[in-house]
Amino acid sequence: MPSLRALLTGTRGRTAPDWTDWLTYGYLVLGLLLMFGPVVWMVMSSFKTPAALNEFPPQLLPYGQAEVNVPGYDRPLPLYRVKVADGATRTLAEVRRIGLTATMVDPAHPQDEIKVDAKDRERVRELKFAWGNYVEIFGKFAFGRYLWNSVFITVVATLITLIFNAMAAFALSKYRFTGHNVVFLMVLSTLMIPPTIILVPNFLVISQLGLLNSLWGVIWPAVATPTGVFLLRQYMLTIPDELIDAARMDNASEWRIFWRIILPLSAPALAVLAIFSVMWRWNDFLWPLIVLSRSENFTLQLALNAFQGELTTQWNYLLAMTVITLLPITAVFAFLQRYIATGIASAGVK
């Protein structure tokens, strides 16, 4: 169908772009700025020193105060541009500041000390990437441990989620047992229960089961996702029943049918659910916060979220930590982004 391609598109003109195309691209570029802009800004800000972060208006690139090594002093001294008595401007290094007076030296002649009013000096800046923000964070908390916990929870929970949800979706799409409607409704209804409201009773249940402080205490409650069941069921409804009946006539057990026919055919929907599950488990914070109280079991999100209360005034560390936390999910995204979209397309439409 030669006209199909032309019709799937929406452009009015066949060759030259017209105003609707300009509008389209304009909208897309605006979207790009709005969606990525704040993230990029945050990443750039994470390389700034605390002093640079406190400046207003903020500079685009990270600048820090230039420092110079002056013979006779053991630490590098900050550089300032100073207006001296005769009106000229000199670049001097500051030795100390007491009250409103700063004592400066010329780096070329470190023996002469010059007293300057603190108001008359201006910082000399240079491009400085504050890698220290990132390095010190690794020193501040056990990043490797938290990463492992997050990865473990995410991978194991995703595997279990895929199996349990696929089984449930299979049951709800291909079987007509008494009460299957009720079960479906029950599963769906749990969507409407915000996790916060069952936090305390859930905590009781988990502690009675002895799963407190264990990574499994985070995994088990999270694997029966109603969205997953819904998604997979919608997809499995499109699998023709004839395939299943044929297999039954060949004396295959239901379990075999599930494993050998249904699962492979549901691969696109399973891929979508896998990606969602990875995203959900990676970003979980409230529930792990309740269950895990031993620091060696903390997840990455937990560490970030929990320490953000401590560091609200230390934006340099907070920004660096935030960037670190969003790197893995960004990588997954870049890698799998095309699957996400096609998966939702095939599973969510019906």
Binding site: N54, G210, R294
Partner: protein
């Protein structure tokens, strides 16, 4: 493969792993104001070297976890063996009396007498439930450099809140600083100023009450926030009883006076350093007193521990004079230990921090007995939390000040009643 069949197996496995460690293990949940947990970690290693049969694990957690998670865990019978807490009275039902496990209870009485009362579940109790890791006092920090730039003299030691408000307003105007003063968003900070203004906090029966003194301070505070003396966003910017400090505003020289407390000294040293001259000043006065509120965090022994003897030994170690003195020196805190306080602490700190510590230590004799009483009161959160929440609402204009005060009173009633059930 059924989920139910896996769970007991997993639970058993988890328990086996946990029990695998030899000897006794005690877990300490610790939060740091500055470097308390790091220092504790260091001291714990020394304790382990002297006591090879005990393993001490320090879990450094954020303050939020102590406030929100720990009480729920303790209520469920879970949690650590020792915890560093600030809600001393509120959690007292979970504490363990370590009198039988310490070497010399009289030593504890002699050196921690006053503050041991804060940890006891009832006034007639005589047990030892933990050790104060610091004595904190609330009080203002001031940006001296701004005063110098504005050429305004610093108010003297007996200056009133109004005098400070006037002086800082002048300084702010002259130096183009956005705001004159700020309080941490905490009913605990506010209470000190209220008591100075004449609030009695407790009525004749010993229940919390909102009286004229409290109302006077509330009105002053409200006016300061509305007329631009104080930044609205500190108290009004967040909701509920969320804690928010105004440290960033002070560190960035956007306010002249900052009411906080002595636990901020090491943080000031690290973050502000020499950017400007910061000093502590004595608590401003009101008609009734020139007081702040004492307080501090304590390491408390918890009932659920399976190693009470080892808990006693570790706390004994921390409470011994040389160790406690070292602890104070390294964390730049005011000692709650009478012996250490008498001898004086050899703080290895910057001159600015030293001077600030001296000011706070000098504040201690001026503390009003009401301040001690509210700190030791079991349900003091019932006063502090609604104060922050409701005054915050009034400041942003959501409710009137009168309504806010009425609501504070009714919130206190509701919470105290609920807590007593």
């Amino acid at each position: 493969m059924n989920a139910r069949s896996l769970q007991p197996i997993l639970a058993l496995a988890a328990m086996a792993v946990a029990a695998g460690t030899l000897g006794a293990e005690i877990r300490v949940a610790c939060y740091s104001d500055g470097n308390e947990c790091a220092v504790t970690q260091d001291l714990a290693k020394r304790f382990e070297a002297q006591n090879p049969d005990v393993k001490v694990i320090i879990d450094t957690v954020p303050y939020k976890a102590i406030v929100e998670q720990l009480p729920v865990q303790l209520a469920a019978g879970e949690g650590p063996d020792i915890a560093r807490v600030t809600d001393l009275g509120g959690l007292s039902k979970f504490y363990l009396d370590i009198t039988p496990y310490v070497k010399d209870p009289k030593y504890w009485e002699a050196n921690f007498g006053q503050t041991l009362k804060w940890l006891r579940p009832s006034p007639t109790d005589k047990g030892i439930y933990g050790m104060m890791t610091q004595l904190t006092v609330t009080g203002p920090f001031v940006n001296k450099t701004l005063f110098e730039q504005a050429k305004v003299p610093l108010p003297g030691p007996k200056a009133t809140w109004d005098e400070w408000a006037d002086a800082t307003r002048k300084v702010a105007k002259a130096t183009q600083t956005p705001y004159a003063m700020a309080f941490d968003r905490s009913g605990h900070r506010f209470a000190g100023a209220a008591i100075s203004m004449g609030a009695r906090i407790f009525d004749a029966k010993g229940n919390l009450v909102i009286d004229d003194g409290f109302r006077t301070m509330a009105k002053k505070f409200y006016d300061w926030n509305r007329d631009g003396t104080m930044p609205k966003e500190v108290w009004g910017g967040v909701g509920g009883n969320t804690y928010r400090d105004a440290f960033e505003e002070f560190a960035n020289a956007r306010i002249v006076l900052y009411l906080s407390g002595s636990w901020q000294i090491s943080r000031m040293d690290k973050q502000i350093g020499r950017n400007f001259d910061w000093i502590a000043v004595p608590d401003p006065c009101g008609p009734a007193a020139c007081t702040g509120i004492p307080g501090g965090a304590a390491f408390v022994a918890l009932k659920r521990t399976k190693s009470p003897k080892e808990v006693g030994r570790f706390l004994d170690f921390l409470a011994s004079e040389p160790v406690y003195a070292e602890y104070m020196a390294r964390t730049e805190n005011i000692p709650a230990h009478a012996g250490v306080a008498r001898k004086g602490v050899d703080y290895k700190v910057s001159p600015a921090a030293r001077a600030a510590l001296d000011v706070f230590v000098a504040d201690v004799p001026n503390l009003s007995p009401i301040a001690y009483a509210i700190q030791g009161y079991k349900y003091n959160r019932a006063l502090f939390n609604p104060t922050a929440a409701r005054l915050g609402q009034a400041i942003v204009g959501e409710i009137s000040l009168d309504d806010a005060l009425k609501r504070i009173a009714s919130d206190i009633d509701e919470q105290v009643k609920a807590a007593q059930k």
